[in-house]
Amino acid sequence: MDDAITHIRFTGTEINYYFLCRKKLWYFSHYIQMEQNSDAVYLGKLIHENSYEREKKEIDIDDTIRIDFISKDRVIHEVKKSDKVEEPHIWQLKYYIWYLKQKGVEGITGKINYPKLRKTQDVYLETGDDEKIEAILKEIRDITGASTPPSADKRKICKNCGYGELCWI
């Protein structure tokens, strides 16, 4: 594995945004954050705070990844509001499993919880995923390291994005 990659620390949110929107990833990684204005994000925060209250939540590892909670069966959980964009959620969790694996923690699986939908989704680190994650990290490094944000096309998800006004003004 590329040595430089092991020294770069990306958060779960950054992995998520890589799949969701690269322009958002660039802004976010430069601390130009917009979501304080977003009702959708506020709702997500409330769901997060008011679900699974018996669990010990927000486990911070290396100041890099923040796991929502871990259950006794060695499953890490990620709580999400809606499954509308599932792929970013899945890769966020795969990244957490991969990250723990780098630290020597084996036998971890993941589960995405959608409390509002009463639905869950299991996530495993599958064959080939390690290589894919390493490639993704390199790409994230290139995107966030660029001096200006990448251009974006207007998509359906832009309508509800907290960054919308910054993007399209």
Binding site: I32, Q36, T148, E165, W168, I169
Partner: protein, 330 residues
Amino acid sequence: MKQNFYIFNSGRLKRQENTIFFEKEDGSRSVIPIENTESIYAFGEIDFNTKLFNYLAQKGIAVHIFNYYGFYSGSYYPRETLNSGQLLVKQVNHYTNRNKRITLARAFIESASFNILKNLRYYNNRGKDLGGVINTIEGYSSQIASSDSVDGLMGIEGNIRNAYYKAWPTIIDQEIEFERRVKQPPDNMVNALISYLNSLVYTTCLGEIYHTQLNPLISFLHEPGERRFSLSLDLAEVFKPIFSDRIIFTILNRQQISEKDFMTEVNFCYLNEKGRKTVIKEYDEKLKTIITHKKLDRQVSYRHLIRLECYKLVKHLIGEQEYEGFKIWW
């Protein structure tokens, strides 16, 4: 949309648990709905408690204080929560680099003069003879592009404003005594209105800057740090013709404000409480006016135009898109 709260009465503003009360001297209380508050304007004689400021900081709500004469004294500006070191570095760099600074300073003046001309054309089309002053200001505006110093730009701006103010007696139907702009203290009704409204625009700009990663101290047209959050002055330049000036023309022409709304004992230099309330009401309605934004293709309020201006500045500073100041399109 969050609301501004304007307090004219005297009393005590305090937090009790998670509620903010305004307690009048007679003991009656009114609740300020915290989640729905953008900022608080304090005109009365008001006591505050520390718990209140802690809570306001947590919710990111500013308090703007005005003295007995309605003159802006200062703001309680809560701790910054949106910080981007990288953006700050770029903002500073755009100030220290002469060419970069002038590019931005020009953009502010250009849109300010565009908006001034728009006001003049509006009244010119309504039978006021303003052709001469429009030509004069167009002449000054054409010098903006070739001016290569901030002082030079400020000079052009001064000329534009002087010519503009000379036209005000033509625009305003009431008999007014207004020849030139005088501040600190203003010397007549119109100057008092300008001072008061400009301070409101300034605080609105400051409030919007607060909700972005921009640093309010580093400005481009005005010199940074001169007692004030000078980036707010830069932005206010763009919006004064649309917010302040138009309100002044309207309320004077509709006879909503006249000499009796000023404090006679200080030579009409300041609005009295009734006058202030009339102006605030107009100002607040102006902020809430909704228009369809051409580029975003969505409904936005006048106030939100200022926030969008901040976003355009952010994009300019990070090198994504060149800033073009807001130009009124309706």
